[in-house]
């Protein structure tokens, strides 16, 4: 890479074997116009300090590995660029609200368990054999859920959500967006199974509509809309159950 300039990168370090709490360390990194923040971190690891720990993989903002806080804002480091911060400096921290495993790598297990809990798969009206061919789904039907299916599970929205930070029992933006994705799919009839999750204390009602999750989402999923539409749905669900205790949730 053609090097033009240098920038200072301050990184939060934490080693579970030796540190009682995290501390900052500063590195100077050369960069060019196209150097991503991730490449800056890779430079540190390759050339300055091989012990710096972070996750990365695809480099093209689709695998969801490299989310971190850049100057306090959750972002994918592969698609943020050092030039945007120059001549200032960068402070890179692991995603907020998630436990730090080591350095910039956070513990993702809570999200993975939450994702599993929402039944994130098609629950069909009746089982259809593969030989019968695909379901028919018009572009309009597909559009009802498609935006929510674009979640890359990068967890930026969890780092943006103070309610999750204050109480990690909250199901959180991405899991609720994916729940809404399946509930909105014309091939799925699992809504009744998922409504107790929506209605629960840890479901949509733990959200106070800060709205920052949608602001930081790199894929335009707009999880806040999924959560808040489900507040309306949850209210109607309650109302209809109240009106007709044995009735359907629709």
């Amino acid at each position: 890479m053609a090097t033009h300039d240098e920038i200072e990168i301050e990184v939060l370090r934490y080693h579970p074997e030796t540190d009682s709490e995290p501390s900052y360390r500063t590195y100077r990194v050369p960069f060019a116009h196209e150097t991503s923040v991730l490449q800056g971190l890779q430079y540190i690891k390759d050339r300055l300090d091989g012990s710096l720990t972070f996750r990365w993989s695809c480099r093209m903002a689709i695998c969801g590995s490299c989310g971190m806080m850049i100057n306090g804002v959750p972002n994918l480091t592969c698609s943020a660029f050092l030039r945007e911060y120059h001549p200032g400096k960068l402070r890179i921290e692991p995603l907020a609200h998630l436990p730090i495993e080591r350095d910039l790598a956070v513990d993702q297990t809570d999200f993975l368990e939450k994702l599993a809990s929402i039944q994130p798969y098609i629950i069909p009206a009746e089982s259809k054999a593969v030989d019968e061919g695909p379901f028919t789904q018009t572009p309009a039907q597909r559009e009802r859920f498609y935006q929510y299916s674009e979640c890359i599970n990068c967890l930026l929205c969890y780092a943006a959500c103070p309610q999750y930070g204050l109480d990690s029992g909250f199901l959180g933006p991405a899991a609720l967006a994916l729940l809404h994705r399946y509930n909105s799919d014309s091939r799925d009839v699992g809504k009744a199974d998922r409504m107790p999750i929506v209605n629960a204390q840890e479901g949509v009602w733990a959200c106070t509509l800060v709205g920052y999750c949608s602001e930081v989402c790199p894929k335009g999923v707009d999880p806040a809309s999924a959560v808040n539409r489900n507040k309306v749905i949850s209210t109607l669900d309650y109302f209809f159950r109240f009106m007709a205790p044995r009735g359907a949730s629709e």
Binding site: P16, G72, L166, L209, G211, S225, N228, R229, K231, V232
Partner: protein, 130 residues
């Protein structure tokens, strides 16, 4: 043998960390002024029930500079509250379609301002005309 020892960062002072959060807290704080204004209005209704003298005294008290300041602040808070609500309303509404085209969030926000303006003018017309 190594064990996992994830470090959980404290949340104290979280809302000061990001301008977005500060604005969010400000939005939430508007409810305090809206509530106080409502209490004050309720008190006015109460004085009306008590009698003309009490109601007049309440009206006089409203002209006190402190009350004027309070009304100014409450109005600002109500406007901010409305503004933030208008902005987030599309997130809570079902998705609207015109034909096969999805109505953009921004269009919905502007539609609310339009409705707000129409109603305000209508009320003003009634008040001034009456």
């Amino acid at each position: 043998m190594a064990v996992r020892r994830p470090y959980v960062r404290p949340m104290a002072g979280w809302w000061r960390r990001n301008p977005f959060y500060i604005f969010y807290m400000l939005r939430e704080a508007t409810s305090v002024f809206v509530a106080l204004y409502a209490l004050q209005l309720l008190y006015g209704l109460y004085t009306l029930a008590v009698g003309e003298a009490a109601f007049d005294a309440w009206l006089v008290s409203l002209r006190h500079p402190l009350f004027l300041v309070f009304h100014g602040v409450a109005l600002a808070a109500a406007l901010l509250h409305a503004f933030t609500w208008f902005n987030v309303a599309p997130k809570a509404m079902p998705v609207l379609y015109l034909g096969s085209h999805r109505v953009a969030d921004r269009t919905l926000v502007w539609a609310q301002y339009l409705i707000f303006a129409v109603i305000s003018v209508a009320i003003l017309g009634v008040v001034l005309g009456g």
